[in-house]
Symmetry: D3
Subunit: 69 residues, 6 copies
């Protein structure tokens, strides 16, 4: 299945910590990746984002889906 | 500022494409990273996730925040 | 109250499992529904999405809000 | 690939509307489904959610990923 | 309808900017509010979060649903 | 660091409740704020949203990131 999510990174699980309802999974990504971020035009202008800028991609851990073959 | 988001990846912007309201930003991550994913205990059991498994971290591009110094 | 969220599905709770902070709620949807998904133009092109295609709508359980009259 | 997202609904695309950066995709789900929602224990208590309650599952359209075989 | 979302803030629309698919809506909140954030235990420990700390609540604009009576 | 997230509200932590994996953090926002919401054009039309309307901004608590200097 191909999916619309633009960011799919392969890696190896380093740790799984399980609670009553939720779990915390650590995945070691094997290689550098290209990340696609959709943000507002307003943010591009306020932060003056342009090719070559050094930036951070910030992702809350609850937003990540895990896939396994 | 330190933030609660467990995933903060540094990289360089490769491309910015701007629409009327939204924009698509491509960021090249410079090095492999450890990703933290919070998923249900139910998923850990159904996918039988454990240390050493090869998995994918899947992230929709609308979930990514961009930071710049 | 009318809300901007395009997807509001009625159903009956089948199960509630409560942890220390979070809870897992199962809801049986009573009838087929039309789902609205906002994705990138890039994904529409890469997956060649068009009217009549058989697809899956994938939703992480942390993204769902529950409403009750 | 099996994925941790608890909600995967099959359906047929009814319409695709493409903008400069984003697109709006309508998917007709073919059969009733069981939805898994992760919410706070606090909400379960404040809304007094229990088996048999009639509720709504509310999902913002930006949270939905589309998959295609 | 009561909803599980813990954060519902009343306000007045200051501006609406409409694109091809998406729109940017500015809402002026009328009074200070109590925000509920669900984060990892790991983040509470790494940031040493405790009663009385001055912090910021950071919310991406795509995560906000608008309701109107 | 400046971030693309349009909503950054300062406040004081009123309470922290920690579970096995997740935690619930209450933050008292000190002053009224302008909220930016990105929704579909379709929702703007269906709810007839315009300057001066009284509306609610609805945010699920799992979507909030906490920052601390």
């Amino acid at each position: 299945m191909k999916i619309s999510a633009r960011n799919v990174f392969e890696g190896e699980i380093e740790n799984v910590e399980v609670g009553a309802v939720m779990a915390n999974v650590k995945i070691k990504i094997e290689s550098p990746e290209l990340i696609t971020a959709i943000i507002t035009k307003e943010s591009v202008e306020k932060l003056d984002l342009k090719k070559g800028d050094t930036v951070s991609a910030i992702i809350k851990s609850t937003e990540i889906i895990v896939g396994k073959e």
